[in-house]
Symmetry: C2
Amino acid sequence: MTIDWIAADWGTTNLRLWAMSGRTPSEARALDRGMGGLRPDQFAAVLAEETDGWPAVPVIASGMVGARQGWIEAPYVPAPCPAVPQLVPVPGDPGGRPVRIVCGVSQTSPADVMRGEETQVAGLLSLSPEFDGIVCLPGTHTKWVRVSADEICNFKSLMTGELFGLIAGQSMLRHTVAAEGHDPDLFRAAVSDAMARPERGFGGLFQLRAEALLADLDPVAARARLSGTLIGWELAAAKPWWLGCEVTIIGAPALSALYAEALTAQGVPAAQMSVEDATLAGLAAAHRQFVAES
Amino acid sequence: MTIDWIAADWGTTNLRLWAMSGRTPSEARALDRGMGGLRPDQFAAVLAEETDGWPAVPVIASGMVGARQGWIEAPYVPAPCPAVPQLVPVPGDPGGRPVRIVCGVSQTSPADVMRGEETQVAGLLSLSPEFDGIVCLPGTHTKWVRVSADEICNFKSLMTGELFGLIAGQSMLRHTVAAEGHDPDLFRAAVSDAMARPERGFGGLFQLRAEALLADLDPVAARARLSGTLIGWELAAAKPWWLGCEVTIIGAPALSALYAEALTAQGVPAAQMSVEDATLAGLAAAHRQFVAES
């Protein structure tokens, strides 16, 4: 296969690279050289080093590489906007390759931003051109995106994943909550309680620790209840996004399964798509756009 | 003044000691030698070292020193229980002094625990013997305690302070939220919103970051909104505790003022008492109990 472009998913923590032949990856590399650990003047050298052996073909990159603290700032495109990514060039073709970075998407009221997820939405539309509905992208900062007529109409971000990580990993609940494991019944009950009475869920957090001290609460049960409480808050906050809608979840498999479980319990069927499939399809759509404009 | 006993407030992080003459402190020492940094076999030496020069009089200690990981475990007394602290002896009169540790208080359903706050509640009752109502003790883990007929009837703990610290100090909002400062109008509006629609408050956390990126949100405004959101959730969760009740707040002055502001906005007048006054009065009540029983 001829490598005719390079796809880069360049986030805060990780860098993933694919040598691409049209829409097909011929080789993949995963590295812990995210934007968070780099100064702007280091990106070109990292890219050259990590694509060693690959030809001098165009590079399409998305994610935090385009943030203000990244390589170059790829400005936010205000929503509503076309779902096909907009690109900005890195000046000077570093390493002899044209490099293009995908712009994020912003929203004025209520204020919101995304950077990276717009590429996955474009990938979903590339793989399912008729898609019209809600995309849920669970993660550190979960996004709910309304897509219609090939546009990102509006969206909403929630800190659910980051809060779960802080509470389970760094609060006094860190000794109470298991690092893995799941209890579907307790999870669904916690989702339902937190949706119906969000404040009661907030009041229930300390109770997990007290039950562990007084009644040997199972750490897996604690994890399911904490996770259900936070996802329940999210579903309550995002209700206008999913109620009566078609939802496609794009996220890591285990996390996507939790969201699908929670949505199904509300009577909302949810399809799932892998992050890698969506990201690659979105970068490929951006590459075709780049070729068409060249 | 004759020093006839020593008061110790021995928490996770700090140790505060007072040489006492009856109910009056004659000397105070504050040290960062909390229970969190000590092994059980180190407490006796720390106490001897830090009370150097004080006479061989009884020591009354409360706080995490009595936790399972502390000096010795002072068991929880199940609520409802008398507000006068119960004491357990440290075996062997370490350093030639009788040492007594105040027991925590537990609740079975819903599960809850306190350790240290029971001493402050006892202090409030010692200073205001007719008190009948709700004590709010804001802090890392805020407690709402119902006191009636000289008993702790029941109580509720919330992780509000710890969550604020994690979100403001360690989440992606750490660059958005000022380390200090206050905006009363924004705070009260956020309290009110979070009480009326807790899930909307959850949905509004990421928005603080987006407004900082897109609209230069003032970090003091962000702090007031975050603080108001969390205290609003707490007031919603604790509504059965304060609605139509007399509330006395025992906490650090700035934090107590926020809670008083939030409660006053709900039409609930709140008195305030200093933590040190309440702690010392509670330890003095425990000391009188100890003397009476000796």
